[in-house]
Amino acid sequence: MKIYKATASFVAMFTIWLVGSGKVYGDPAPLIPLYPDHVRDHVERALDTLGMTSSDAGFEKDHGKPLWTLGWITNTLNDPWQLPGHADALYTAAESDNPEKWWSIGAELMELDVGLARASGEPHDKPFAGWDSLVNRFLVYVEEIDEMLEASFGNLSLEDRIYLSASILASTFESADNEVHRNVLLEAGISEEALDRIEEEARQLDGSDASLRWLDLVNQVDLPGLYRSFHLFYHAVLNIRNEVTAIEEWPDSPLIRESHWGHIIIGTMGDDAYEGPALLIIDPGGSDTYRNGVGAANGLEGRRMAAIIDLGGDDVFHEEGLLGAGSALWGLAVVLNTSGDDRYESAFVGAGAALFGGAWLEDFSGSDQYRGHAIGQGAGMVGFGFLIDHAGDDVYDVGFYGQGFAGVKGWGMLLDRAGNDRYLAGNRRLDHERNDERYLSLSQGFSIGMRPHAGGGVASLIDLSGNDIYIGDIYAQGVSYYYSAGFLLDGGGHDRYSMYQYGQGCGIHMSLGLLADAWGNDSYSGYILAQGAAHDYSVGMLFDHQGDDTYTADHHAQGRALNNAFALLVDRTGNDAYFSRQRDGAQGIGNNGGFRDYGSLALLIDLAGADIYSGGFSNSMITLRPLYGVVYDYKEDTGHE
């Protein structure tokens, strides 16, 4: 009996120590569902203390009425509780090892009425029967896809396409002020006339006419058709990859076959150097280099498709021109890289980035480095950009518009499935007139619309595991601007999130932003409008399920809703610390909406642990805050405290 009591006492003490030290919280929590019933119950109780119900979060936010937007984004503004469900769907697809799920979620969230079954239902599972046979079969697909692309781009003339390209690229790379960048655009097929026209339009005090003309042209792009052709091209390339994987005998020197759509090159087991555009490169191994337009599609120059299949080696993809490997302008690009520690370097656009097209870059193993200036690493504007990295400790470095970025009618997804990864976005373009010495990031699950005329798209940065570091500056980490949606979903690990303004689950101007982290002792560092924050009829959410987390900000953070917005921060377990310099500007608080003169809804929900609040809020207390918010710190009543 004494032994039993002593053992029980030891177990009890040990348990208290473990829980008290924050070391053990049971099995790692899965990320989804983000908003299960027991959390919903607490949120409803918190709302009840405010004299509200869940439906109150649906106060009117759709005041922009853009000419084009995704319907679900508008619906979610008006019913914010749909947002966690959309994140669940996104993460479920990402977690699956089935690329068709990724394609499907892209179509679903971009509201594309597409039938994708045909391509996926017709795999090339035939044994290798020689290069001619393989190439001929591939070209049959290419011909069909080319026709599909032409149909997707509708009646847009080459001049229209150049103008539309210039409209995005001139401002992105500030070609009016940078002669080098201007020349790069000219070399990529953008005309002087188009750049001049863009500069002239920018001088208008009212740009509505030009914007509406732009939108009218963009609307002529058949996005579902483009997506179908992209899907078919991906499968055409994937089937080749699957077929050639088993080949043991490769040529001693590269084989080159001409086609109407560009070269098809079969590489060697050695260290090959590829330069210049090609329709398809198949390389079996060796540490190869790819330069000068390889793996990039540029429809303005008659190269609508480009693909690379690399089966091994530590490869370098280096591009000084506009389009790096795995990028597409009025076309489609697919890069499948099976193994090796690879480097993807783009002086401008690259690595799963598409403008008026589709781009897919998938790297299956190795610790890789991705570097680019802008529009890269899972970025799409009037198009679809996928970057999928399956393994390794990877480094992602982009100036802006990357790492899960979407513009108007865009889809951008960066999916990293494993490894301790580092994400850096910034250090290229200063945030003039707002934070003069800081940099725009516009990345890491960031989407933006064309205010006031059109909404943006869907951007997501999804990292399934590992101890990851996310560094941004202005607009980063699950954030969006104007009828758009930005997600950062992290499946686990001890992660560090750092940015300055607008991010970490933040919606700005009628928009949706969400950051979710499953487990680990995470740290969130920001300054303004961060960590479950929203401004101007927007919705911002941050979910952290497990771990001893630290939240640090100056103001407008940690469940802060500003100017008639809805903000939510839910931290389920762990001994957490919430620090903010300005007590009246953070932690479950709204404001009076400026000249609009009415409140917001802000919830800071912490469901367990011994927590610290710089605002002085108590554990196990529900504190109602002005205009209108709550710090809901809940502790289960165990009856023996």
């Binding site: 203390t49 405010l50 004299g51 509200m52 439906s55 109150d56 106060f59 009117e60 005041h63 500030e174 002020d177 001088r203 005090l205 009212d206 740009g207 509505s208 914007s211 200063l430 003039h432 007139e433 205010r451 006031p452 005329h453 008639n564 009076n592 609009r596 003169d597 009415y598 409140g599 809804l601 809020f617 108590s618 196990s620 207390m621 529900i622 504190t623 109602l624 805050r625 002005p626 205009l627 209108y628 710090v631 809940y634 502790k635 009543d637 405290e641």
Partner: protein, 262 residues
């Protein structure tokens, strides 16, 4: 005419012409003043343009209002800055010129901006805009800011019949007008389906001070649970009710004034 005279006339002519050359168009100045200042030169041009635009009031304001309907957000921000900074004798006459403009967006903006200046003598010109759906909110807000008593009945009507934002505007207008006869209508709004309206009505009630407290206390027991919660929080903010500060687990505490009417 002597050569001397000819030379003098020529000098005056050149001076006259150069004065036109130096004076930049207001559109150019507005462009510089609202352009993204991503270089030191543009930021300096912006500073210079903004100074000159202010010196050329009210012409600058007229030029800006000619484009205010457009998509240049920074132009709207600039005009807002002028409206908040410049005196009424500059702003009001200029804005009045646009309250019957052909473009509904221009009318709405002009009416809204007028609410930042006291110009009650022009209230009659705003009432017709209450009849038009897209200018109704701006007109009601401005009439409230001008404390026009005749606007109360309109506000009470739209507090019930308006869309969400109009109901909010109506509640704020009733607060601004400051007539305690609006208390019943505002208290009715404690049962509005949306908290934005309920709580805006509550803020308005709290702003009436002691009279509101007396009114709310007199109605004890005749509220729905939601409305009663709002009523009690109003009384708390009015200093008439001390809510118990329980230290029990998961008890509810108020962090200062809930409706924050300061």
């Amino acid at each position: 005419m002597s050569n001397k005279h000819l030379g003098y006339i020529l000098f005056l002519f050149i001076l006259f012409c150069s004065s036109f050359a130096i004076a930049r168009s207001l559109e150019d100045l507005l462009y510089d003043a609202t352009r993204y200042g991503n270089t030191p030169e543009r930021r300096e041009a912006k500073r210079v343009a903004r100074e000159e635009l202010k010196e050329r009031m009210p012409d600058s304001l007229h030029a800006a209002m000619a484009h205010i309907h457009g998509d240049r957000v920074m132009l709207q921000v600039l005009v807002m800055e002028w409206v908040l900074e410049l005196p009424s004798d500059v702003i009001v006459p200029a804005l009045l010129a646009y309250i019957d403009h052909d473009r509904i967006e221009t009318r709405r903006v002009a009416i809204f901006f007028l609410g930042f200046h006291q110009a009650t003598e022009h209230a009659d010109r705003l009432f017709p805009h209450l009849e038009e759906e897209q200018t109704r909110g701006a007109a009601l807000r401005t009439l409230g800011k001008w404390k026009v008593p005749e606007a109360r009945s309109h506000a009470e009507k739209w507090l019930v019949d308006g869309g969400e934002r109009l109901r909010i505007v109506a509640a704020n207008a009733l607060r601004d007008i400051g007539d305690t006869k609006a208390l019943p209508a505002l208290v009715e709004a404690f049962d509005d389906p949306v908290f934005t309206v309920r709580n805006t009505a509550a803020r308005a009630v709290v702003s009436f001070g002691d009279e509101a407290a007396v009114y709310l206390e007199s109605m004890d027991g005749s509220f729905t649970s939601t409305a009663d919660l709002i009523r009690r929080r109003c009384l708390h903010d009015l200093g008439r009710l001390t809510l118990p500060q329980s230290m029990d687990k998961n008890a509810i505490h108020l962090d200062g004034s809930f409706f924050n009417t300061q």
